[in-house]
Symmetry: C2
Subunit: 218 residues, 2 copies
């Protein structure tokens, strides 16, 4: 039984965590017999998007408070994440990763990274514990870790920014997981491809399984 | 390939749709080779709950707009649901069913029911097409349809209100589906029991499977 720290960044694909990816990450961890705690930063959302129209709303929301919707209230502030308590780290996607946890959506490879996220990712990487990134999250992991190999599927403009950050991108398709053995880093495209929800489930189950099987050797 | 209409009631267990149940409903329908459209009423939420603290927030949100987060924007107003286009109807749970789609959370068996929901459920029942209810949704279906048999698991106060409405309640455990053959009505407890997320997935997959196998005989 392994323990995963899951970091999410709101509640909704356009301004927060992608809900299907986040939910299915929890499902895959539980289904495969492991445990999780969920974390989110206690910061304002970059903005609030009306998911019906795609337009910005004149509202303020908090990333931790909205993330608590996906977590059913069982969530902790990201600055309370103690690396030592966990065997692995995983980041589902959604624009929240690129707008709330970083400014990647606006500044690409030159983006700012949330300081707590930066610390957590560097701690996990330094300890050799596996890190997993879904959807757009691999791009932000690339900016933090630089000389790594990741996949976000096949989106040209995102790949360009990933390679600008000093990382290497590997093209993948639905459900595939790319394993950067040197960094113990696992990535999979999820909704960066035009996918059905059961294809998302396949990718998430594959990455969680791979993190345990390949990423946690003694 | 069967087509499901899925009705959700916001985005978050305490004031809207239960996110895991709603997401896993879409996953199960897709995984089993079927299709879905998602609907929600275009009405104000009863209230907005801070899912971190459990307390009400001084905000106004719209059920359709928040439901669009789970649907990734692909959602229609409930009053546009044409029964004839669908083979089955399914309602995931969450307090939104008992606060936005009805007043069951406050008035039990004597609750008011959203007029569009009432129409849709009665149309599906009259046509003999299968109806599925997860979590608390069976209680609202019982109020609409009255002389039916449902399960919400084993919560005594909810069972009392269900029986007050004229329905019969059947106790069930994790992943079990109760089939009221006369009404072609399928119900399963999900988070009305203290469940893990993979137990929710098991229950959801079981109910969607049963609706197709048992509920759609020629």
């Amino acid at each position: 039984m392994k323990k995963f720290a899951v970091i999410i960044a709101g509640c909704g694909v356009y301004d927060g965590a992608e809900i299907h990816e986040a939910t299915l990450t929890l499902w895959a961890i539980d289904k495969l017999g492991h445990q999780y705690d969920i974390f989110a930063p206690d910061i304002p959302q970059h903005h609030v998007i009306n998911h019906l129209t795609g337009e910005a709303m004149q509202e303020k929301r908090n990333v931790l408070v909205e993330s608590a919707r996906i977590a059913r209230g069982k969530i902790k502030p990201l600055d309370k994440l103690i690396t030592e308590y966990y065997d692995a780290l995983v980041l589902p996607g959604g624009f929240g990763v690129a707008k709330n946890l970083s400014t990647f959506a606006f500044e690409g490879a030159n983006c700012d990274i949330n300081a707590d996220l930066n610390n957590v990712v560097r701690h996990f990487a330094a300890s050799g514990k596996p890190i997993g990134g879904l959807c757009i999250a691999p791009a932000i992991l690339a900016v933090i870790l630089r000389e790594v190999e990741v996949t976000i599927g096949k989106d040209p403009s995102t790949i360009e920014q990933i390679e600008k950050s000093g990382a290497k991108h590997v093209v993948t398709d639905h459900g595939e997981v790319y394993f950067d053995e040197e960094t113990n880093l696992f990535t999979t495209p999820c909704y960066m491809l035009d996918a059905s929800i059961s294809q998302i489930a396949d990718g998430v189950e594959a990455i969680i399984g791979a993190m345990v099987e390949l990423g946690m050797k003694e």
